[in-house]
């Protein structure tokens, strides 16, 4: 049996073959969906919203108010980044409901997102405090704690990335094993032509691992990004 790692979907025929894993393909599909949604939603904007525009405005407003609540009025310009992050993570985590591999069940995706947050933390921290004040933050409360502070800061993206990755890959593996087990159970009682177990039993597991855990984890990732950035900026 092959493992639970990302599989190579195909190879790009340039530079001697660049392997493209299914994570990347799924990410492309999610990107296409989000871009299409953004284009469609902002095409015909009217003064008095109706139908589709109402939904879009509700999404944008709730993301804006979440950003203001968590980071403060003066940091509303983070709302586009946080909103994109949230919508991408939401779609990516719910991707398992379609029976496909979640892009977030790959350490490369989550680590990439965490590095983006890490850069935002330090860039905006240095911007709002000034370079001197930002560097001084590493020598507080006592100067000899400098290596400890650096290590503490470096551990932030790692813990961010690993908690999301761990949750998603755990759910993915459990659901994969469950489907395997249920298939052999159906075969055992001679129902291979009518897989009755696979139809009903996994619903609860999908509910917990994909829906509940996925939504919660994407929310937590965004929330923690906001908290860390605003902590570094204040």
């Amino acid at each position: 049996m092959e493992g639970f790692g990302p599989r190579i979907a195909f190879e790009l025929p340039i530079f001697g073959g660049i392997p493209i894993s299914d994570t990347v393909v799924n990410t492309w599909i999610i990107m296409a969906i989000l871009i299409a949604f953004a284009v469609l939603a902002s095409k015909k904007l009217e003064k008095i919203p109706k139908g589709f525009q109402n939904v879009t405005e509700a999404i944008v407003e709730s993301l804006n108010s979440l950003t203001v609540q968590t980071m403060g009025e003066d940091k509303l310009f983070f709302a586009p980044y946080m909103g994109t992050l949230f919508l991408f993570l939401l779609l990516a985590n719910l991707w398992g409901l379609l029976g496909l591999r979640q892009p977030t069940a790959d350490i490369n995706t989550t680590f990439g997102l965490a590095i983006m947050t890490f850069i935002a933390i330090h860039f905006f921290g240095a911007k709002s405090k000034g370079i001197g004040g930002y560097l001084k933050g590493f020598f507080e409360p006592l100067p000899f704690l400098f290596p400890l502070n650096v290590m503490g800061e470096l551990s932030t993206p790692i813990s961010l990335a690993f908690r999301l990755f761990g949750n998603m890959v755990g759910g993915f593996i459990i659901i994969g094993l469950l489907y395997g087990g249920l298939t052999s159970l159906s075969n055992m009682i001679g129902l291979s032509f009518f897989p009755i177990f696979q139809a009903g039993v996994p619903i609860i597991f999908h509910l917990y691992f994909d829906l509940f855990s996925g939504v919660l984890q994407s929310f937590i990732f965004v929330m923690l990004s906001m908290v860390f950035i605003s902590m570094q900026m204040d």
Binding site: L148, M151, G152, S155, I158, S159, F162, R163, V227
Partner: protein, 76 residues
């Protein structure tokens, strides 16, 4: 009401972050220490040094997250 709810969610995500934020520096310290030891052939000095450092970092992280809101109130 809306503000209070946001606060609860924020704290909930921070609480669920505490566990991971404690583990990562310690494990990072173990691997970093082992790596430096294998480079300098000095087992187990750096391993122990980095484990102790990792534990201290883990607890300072906890302290920072836990006292985040207290600081804000004092400043006001």
């Amino acid at each position: 009401m809306a503000k209070k709810r946001g606060h609860i969610l924020e704290n909930l995500s921070l609480v669920s972050y505490l566990g991971v934020s404690m583990i990562v520096p310690i494990i990072g310290g173990v691997y970093l220490g082992r790596w430096i030891d294998s480079l300098l052939n000095s087992q187990p000095i750096f391993l122990f040094a980095f484990i102790i450092m990792g534990v201290i970092v883990a607890f300072t992280n906890l302290f920072k997250i836990a006292t985040k809101d207290i600081d804000k109130k004092k400043r006001k």
